[in-house]
């Protein structure tokens, strides 16, 4: 017995180790698999429904299968036990009767009678798969009869229960008689005799029961697995039925939002999904109609602006020539009239500028603006802009600082448009700097060039960073348009920057002035990722920095 238990312990340890090893491998694999799985879990409703169905049905089917298998095994075992107890009773009666005549345990015929009884009652042996009957005597260990040495099947506990407590008891044991380990049901009963009690053990192999239990288990497992798979497939199919139209709707919506307004969903039948598709299509149709109408209106409006501008040119030219004539002769007029002639001249200049800007804007709106990019050194361009505005700044008493790199900054740009942007920015800065210095800086790296224009005027209130690029926007509407400006300059500049694939951004803080930054890609058509210069100037008082975020990212998108 000691050898047995030791080997069992060793076997157990080995099995445990092997199981742990397998578990470690499975866990590692699971981690590898789980990452993508998690991703799929979040992305796919289909996957999620199938997975939940599989897990839930596995649990349910598993519980049910366990119940069925356990119950059927118990029934099998109970039947065998009852049969064994009945047979044991018959055998015990037989043995008691056969041994009734003996009064002395040392009678040699007791031993031979025991042998006869055991062999008579035994139905084959372990090889034949029949029941074995063994007779032992706890009081007289020499007195025993058994066709096979079945002592390893009879545990001391069972022997004690039967021999000492005088009870009928059974126990399941596993033993190998040479034809592989087999489970045995060992049922024992004391046999009353005239020469002291002996014990009879009826040992029946559970081979058939074990096989049947195994078959039931396999069947239940297979059925369960099939059921789970079936449920999985079913849920996949059903979910697919629902998810596919949703996916189609999503795709259609994506296409719609991408501008393909004539995308529609196919409508099948009259169910909820058909209703969804029909409603979606209805929505798409309405949207398309609205958008087309708005586009048409917008086109008409732009056309109207452009036409009006053109149509105003010819009379304006005539008016201009007349005004020029009057302006040239103003010295001969009454001073009031002369003043009027000067005003006329000035407003005509403004009007002309406005018309030019309107035409420019309408060209952008019509999409006719073309980029005429060529490799240009930006240093002379910046210098030229500052020089040209020298007179204006001098007149306003604003010093303009210029910071440019020593080396040429070459970029593929349209120099005319860049110059127009810079002129606009510097002009605006000079106009709003309230006599303080305006700083212009040029920076460059491998991918981009940038120009910042900084003033120290009243600055911008929070939120105005975006508004400044709106057409005809003014920081203070009550302020008169003394300083010229059509209100379209920054809008046009923004369009120019956009045409380059560049950014035009504004920063400003009340009392700390404002800074505008123009960033352009070195090679035309490249995508910008960063700017060589900072949008927020370094001299900003930190506490006053209301919003340090590059507010105009959206503008440039």
């Amino acid at each position: 017995m000691a050898v047995d238990s030791r080997s069992v312990t060793a076997l157990g340890a080995r099995v445990l180790e092997a199981a742990l090893d397998v578990w470690r491998r499975v866990a590692r694999r699971a981690v590898i698999v789980a990452g993508p799985l998690h991703h799929t879990w979040r992305r796919s409703l289909h996957f999620r429904v199938v997975a939940i169905t599989l897990v839930t049905s596995s649990l349910l089917v598993g519980a049910f299968a366990y119940l069925v298998a356990t119950q059927s095994t118990n029934i099998l075992l109970d039947r065998t036990r009852n049969a064994a107890v009945k047979q044991l009773q018959v055998d015990t009666d037989h043995a008691a009767e056969q041994l009734r005549g003996f009064n002395q345990a040392f009678d040699p015929q007791v031993q031979s009678s025991l042998g006869t009884i055991a062999s008579y009652l035994s139905r084959g042996g372990p090889e034949q798969g029949g029941a074995i009957v063994a007779l032992t005597s706890s009081r007289n260990p020499n007195l025993r009869a058994q066709a096979f040495d079945v002592s390893p099947l009879i545990t001391p506990e069972l022997a004690h229960t039967v021999a000492v407590d005088h009870r009928v008891a059974d126990q399941i044991r596993t033993y190998d008689f040479g034809s592989g380990p087999t489970k045995y049901l060992v049922t024992g009963s004391p046999v009353p005799t005239g020469f002291g009690p002996i014990e009879l053990y009826y040992i029946v192999p559970l081979t058939t029961e074990d096989q049947t239990a195994g078959q039931i288990r396999t069947m239940v497992l297979l059925t369960g697995a099939a059921l789970v798979i079936l449920l999985g497939v079913l849920s996949a199919l059903v979910t697919r039925l629902v998810v596919r139209p949703v996916r189609v709707a999503a795709r259609t919506a994506q296409r719609l939002s991408a501008g393909l307004l004539d995308q529609r969903m196919a409508v099948h039948g009259e169910d909820d999904l058909a209703l969804l598709a029909a409603s979606f299509n209805q929505m798409a149709t309405n949207l398309q109609r609205q958008i087309v109408r708005l586009e048409e209106m917008s086109r008409l409006q732009r056309r109207f602006t452009s036409d009006v501008s053109h149509e105003l040119r010819t009379p304006l030219t005539t008016v201009r020539m007349a005004a020029d004539l009057i302006f040239a002769e103003r010295d001969e007029f009454d001073p009031a009239v002369a003043r009027a002639a000067e005003l006329l001249q000035a407003e005509l200049d403004r009007f002309e500028g406005l018309l030019t800007d309107l035409l420019e804007i309408s060209r952008f709106d019509a999409g006719f603006a073309m980029l005429d990019a060529e490799p240009t050194d930006l240093v002379p361009v910046v210098r030229r802009v500052v020089d040209r505005l020298d007179g204006v700044s001098a007149r306003a008493g604003v010093p303009v600082e210029l910071t440019v790199p020593e080396t040429p900054v070459i970029a593929e740009v349209d120099p005319r448009r860049v110059e127009r942007i810079l002129r606009n920015l510097v002009g605006n800065a000079v106009e709003h700097s309230e006599g303080r210095t305006v700083s212009v800086a040029l920076g460059a790296d491998d991918a981009a060039v940038a120009v910042t224009v900084r003033d120290h005027g009243i600055g911008l209130r929070p939120g105005e960073e975006k508004l400044v690029f709106n057409r005809f926007w003014r920081a203070d509407p009550s302020r008169a348009r003394q300083t010229g400006g059509t209100g379209l300059g920054l809008s046009i500049s923004l369009e120019d920057a956009r045409l380059h694939g560049g950014w035009l951004e504004a920063w400003g803080a009340p009392g700390q002035g404002a800074q505008f930054r123009l960033t352009l890609p070195v090679r035309a058509g490249d995508r910008l990722t960063s700017s060589p210069l900072r949008l927020v100037p370094p001299d900003v008082v930190p506490g006053h920095a209301v919003d340090a975020r590059p507010a105009s990212l959206e503008v440039t998108a």
């Binding site: 299968a65 366990y66 075992l77 005549g101 126990q171 044991r173 009353p192 239990a213």
Partner: protein
């Protein structure tokens, strides 16, 4: 980490689930209920064995004990013998030697040959050899005396014990010990024609637990009949034993035999072997083991129950009716001869007032008779009565035979004349043949319807029977006869060929103390009464077992030699202790059943005038 724990738990749950729902490899001990209670207690402990060596307090008792030492179970014989012998003498004991039954003649003679040493001389008669099957066979030795030496031995306690230092040459068991330590048991075998059971006497050691005695009897049955009887009876297949014990005590005995039991080669067609086996077992185990019938299992199947029904009582021809009060009180019809005529005796049922049987009333039948045999048997065609009358006419003897079925008597027929003729005997089952001693030879006869006389045909006797045959009698089963030849008694087993021939199949001499036996008859199915000269030289009537081992004087008479002896066999199921015997000698006839053995004149019924007692001869019973 948490997910891993959950996964581990799930894996464990699946593993437990898959393995947990099968049959476990090991389980705890499950208590089902209380064990069975002990059944009926076996009466007593082990039976009485012979006394031990140390139990004798005198040297006479020691010798007596020594001659009983071998009684008991054969497999313990050697050990018991060695206990009586010194180690040196014990080493010389041969295992498996025959156990000789001897009858002591006189008391042992002690001769002191040294300090505390005696030479013991015993005079013996060899009676037979007891074999392991409890049967006493014919004696092989004829030695008449043995001498052995015993010595005194002191035990540590100071008591004196004896020990045998030089044992006798043979293993000896006295007949007294046989009677003390064995119980006679009659077992039965079917006759060769399977019409009746034939008894076979055995000796059961009292030492054997009572609970195992039925098993022993079944073993004896399977092992076959006694050696001498073997040719005359049918056997059970000796493979019939299936090693099952016969549970006893039990209300209904259960005997289990193997399938071979029904394979009996000598069973003719139309014989229900199982039924016959059952009756054989019933009769063999009848007393004292069968209480409420017997159940016979052949090869574990076809359990058949046998009870003491009419079939049971009919199976043994020696039995007349069911046991009970009626049978106990039944008296045989008694007759005697007065002046050559048959008269009823008063001891018959009804005081003997009834007329004589019809067949004796025909003209010329009931006269000149010197001895008569009257028998009755139920046959298919009715109650058959037969008379075999020895008549003397002109100093010549002949046999007159009359038979009747119901009241229809057939004409009397006679044989030719012989110079001497003894009493005739009818063989029963079926009662169609008779035996008679004529001219010192044994003859058979049968009643024939054809015209003319009845021929006597000689019966060949084994050559071992030398001398003149003087008397013959038939056992109630009609399968054994006893003859007296040369003053000695023999028992013969016979077979009945066809319906009318008799052949002797088996023979054994019956050793007896009675010498010069003149007459023999059957007092029980396995016992004889003999008349002859007793050990004191006077006439004696003794009852003996067929093997001669057990004998008992019935009557000692000083009058004169017995001429004629008849017995009425007791039913085997009857609990009779005394033999029903009548005999005559010169001048008187005796009925041993009554208080006064002598038959008085007033006992003879229907006689004319005063009866001369000396003329009352040859009393006989109506054997039914």
């Amino acid at each position: 980490m948490r997910r891993r724990t959950v996964l581990a738990a799930a894996a464990a749950a699946i593993a437990v689930g898959v393995s947990g729902c099968g049959i476990p490899a090991e389980s705890k001990v499950r208590d089902i209920g209380a064990g069975p209670e002990a059944g009926e207690e076996v009466s007593g402990g082990a039976g009485a064995g012979p006394p031990t060596r140390e139990s004798a307090s005198t040297k006479e008792a020691f010798v007596s004990n020594f001659l009983a030492a071998l009684a008991g179970e054969p497999d313990k014989m050697e050990g018991r013998l060695k206990a009586y012998l010194t180690p040196d003498a014990g080493n010389a004991v041969q295992a498996g030697a025959d156990l000789n039954i001897v009858r002591l003649r006189g008391t042992p003679a002690f001769d002191e040959i040294g300090q505390g040493t005696w030479s013991v001389k015993i005079d013996v008669t060899h009676v037979g050899v007891l074999d392991a099957r409890g049967s006493i066979g014919e004696a092989e030795l004829t030695r008449s005396s043995y001498t052995f030496k015993i010595a005194v031995q002191s035990t540590e306690a100071g008591a004196e014990t004896w020990i045998v230092t030089d044992p006798p040459d043979d293993l000896l068991l006295s007949t007294d010990a046989l009677e003390s330590y064995y119980t006679p048991r009659t077992i039965y075998f079917w006759s060769r024609d399977r019409k009746t059971l034939v008894p076979d006497e055995r000796y059961m050691p009292k030492e054997l637990d009572e609970g195992r005695q039925p098993t022993r009897i079944v073993e004896w049955l399977v092992a076959g009949p006694s050696e001498w009887l073997r040719p005359a009876v049918s056997r059970i297949n000796d493979q019939a034993k299936n090693n099952q014990n016969v549970p006893y005590p039990k209300d209904r005995l259960e005997v289990s035999l193997s399938a071979k039991a029904v394979e009996q080669t000598d069973a003719g067609p139309g014989v229900d072997v199982v039924a016959q086996l059952g009756q054989q077992l019933m009769w063999s185990l009848r007393w004292p083991y069968v209480r409420d019938g017997l159940q016979l299992w052949v090869d574990g199947r076809g359990a058949q129950v046998f009870t003491k029904d009419s079939v049971f009582y009919a199976a043994n021809a020696a039995n007349r009716g069911p046991e009970g009060q009626e049978q106990q009180e039944a008296q045989p019809e008694r007759f005697a001869l007065v002046d050559g005529k048959i008269h009823r005796l008063k001891g018959s049922p009804g005081g003997g007032t009834q007329p004589l049987p019809q067949l004796l009333l025909s003209n010329g039948v009931n006269q000149d008779i010197v001895s008569a045999t009257l028998a009755r048997e139920s046959a298919d065609d009715g109650l058959r009565t037969a008379a075999a009358l020895v008549v003397r006419q002109d100093e010549k003897f002949k046999l007159r035979v009359v038979t009747a079925v119901g009241d229809g008597a057939r004409p009397a027929k006679e044989t030719t004349e012989y110079t001497s003729m003894g009493r005739a005997a009818w063989l029963k089952t079926p009662m169609d043949v008779g035996l008679v001693v004529a001219d010192k030879g044994l003859y058979q006869f049968t009643y024939q319807l054809t015209a003319g006389g009845i021929p006597l045909r000689r019966v060949d006797l084994p050559s071992a029977i030398d001398g003149k045959v003087t008397d013959v009698s038939a056992a109630p089963d009609g399968r054994r006869i006893a003859v007296v030849a040369g003053g000695r008694v023999y028992v013969l087993g016979i077979s009945r060929g066809g319906t009318t021939t008799v052949a002797v199949e088996a023979m054994r001499p019956v050793p007896t103390t009675v010498t010069n036996v003149v007459a023999v008859d059957w007092s029980e199915e396995a016992k004889l009464v003999v008349a002859g000269t007793g050990p004191d030289g006077k006439p004696a009537v003794w009852e003996l077992s067929l093997d001669g081992a057990i004998e008992k004087p019935q009557f000692n008479d000083t009058g004169g030699a017995v001429r004629h002896l008849v017995a009425y066999p007791d039913d085997p199921v009857a609990a009779s202790v005394t033999a029903t015997v009548m005999y005559d000698r010169a001048g008187a006839a005796f009925d041993l059943a009554g208080d006064k053995p002598g038959i008085e004149a007033s006992d003879v019924m229907g006689a004319d005038g005063e009866v001369d007692l000396s003329q009352v001869t040859a009393p006989f019973f109506l054997l039914d």
